[in-house]
Amino acid sequence: MLNNIEWLVPSDDKVKLGGEDSEIVVSSRTRIARNITDIPFEIKMKTDDSIRLVKLVRSVIGENIKGKYLDIQKISPLEKESLLECHFISPAFLDIDKPAGLFILDKGNISIMINEEDHLRIQGLSYGLNLTNISSEVFDLEEKIGEDLAYAFNETYGYLTSCPTNLGSGLRASVLLHLPALVFTNEVEKVLKGAVQIGMAVRGLYGEGSEIKGGLFQISNQHTLGLKEEDLIESIVKLTHMIMDIEKKARNVIFTKARYEFEDKIFRSLAVLKSARIISTDEVLNLLSAVRFGIGTGVIKDITLGVINEIMLVSRPANIQLYFGEVLEEHERDVRRAEYIRKRLSGKSKITKSK
């Protein structure tokens, strides 16, 4: 079905570039969990209930919203991996064995998982610091669906979810931050500890552990009860601005101290990306961090963040296979990944539209 990754990657450079400060704030994400009153929740669902849920939601969505529907049970493991890498599905959907679906809106920035841990997981992603806008788009959609479906709701505990940790707003909002200067000056732990103190969860990208790759950190809210959605989003945006300021100051400091050393590191990283013949996902992530830093600080002028965002996405293990339309072993993937990046950075290859 997904013989080409094209439709998963925003083709519009404006979308890929994102909103304000899209170098430090790589992306903004929002997810809301909803359940339907009269259908049992995950642990009590029978196959009949799953079928009913999927049909019901599809009928409601089909009437109102334009997009692409995927039957999760019918698509291949590789395609699922790719959807995960693009943040359209959660790891739980990888080996799901009940009727479930994914709806991706035409614009490509919002998707709905049907029958994950909650009946509905409505989620939006935008590049740059765009949390407020993407959240209101997600809430608009949630309201639209809520006109036809009765969400499970309780006066005291708000929207009812499968897991008690999501009760209330069912909202998880997050930003992905690129903080190379704070990593370099060893201040990042101190700064992020402050975020944890005010109720945020912090983690390195693409891993549950504490390992940090490419200077990327995700900040998200931990609590869903007792805070208005708008206030929560605003507090994350505020915090993000604060961290951005500290990162910018750290950049000034290190550039005053060792400008040539940093320019050297940036251009060497770019050179490796432009000429490597074998390259792993982890290495790409680290080199991209340096190039991203170079773009943000004005050292690199002829590459856009849109290209960097695209390479970050397409380089992932499953995506790179879909890009070439072939199943590839690890070593072969590393070779083809290097090939793709070389072409992309020399400006020769854009993702081509499959019909």
Partner: protein, 158 residues
């Protein structure tokens, strides 16, 4: 050396803080250090707090059962998940504190779900009616309700 807080587990984390008037030295086990929020990357997430709180069990738990989905409080504690939208009303007295500890709040203040005739509810009502009709053995009525229920089903075909 044993942990200063729980005095049970061996202390593995040593923490020294210089306050204006005193120097505080703590020797803690990992769990107690987390409780104090001393380790950033390992601070307990809500899901971890939940798992810890659910370990407190009582013999009564098997007897407290949701009247809609038949989930018992005991099973809720084993799995950490609700079974339906009615569970919370049944379990509330027993899990009030748990929710408060997870969220540092016990009341939703955000968006409100709009009420009104919706598909989720209609199906619910129709199913109840169907059950009653079948209990009364009025099969004609049951057939009518089944027809209505069918209108909520949509073909799966692409």
């Amino acid at each position: 050396m044993l942990c200063d807080d729980c005095k049970k587990k061996p202390a593995t984390i040593f923490f020294k803080e210089v306050l204006p008037e005193e120097v505080v030295e703590l020797h803690l086990c990992e769990e107690c250090a987390h409780k104090r929020g001393l380790i950033m990357t390992k601070k307990m997430l809500p899901i971890e707090i939940l798992q810890r709180l659910l370990r407190e069990k009582s013999v009564e738990d098997e007897k407290i059962i949701c009247s809609v989905c038949y989930l018992s409080l005991a099973e809720f504690k084993r799995r950490g998940r609700f079974g339906c939208s009615n569970c919370i009303s049944t379990f509330e007295p027993y899990i009030k504190n748990l929710i408060k500890q997870i969220h540092r709040s016990d009341k939703h203040v955000g968006r409100q779900a709009k009420l009104g005739p919706k598909k989720g509810f209609e199906v619910f009502k129709l199913r109840e009616q169907l059950k009653k009709a079948l209990e009364k053995e009025s099969y004609e009525e049951a057939a009518e309700i089944r027809d209505k229920l069918k209108t909520f089903e949509v073909d799966n075909a692409e």
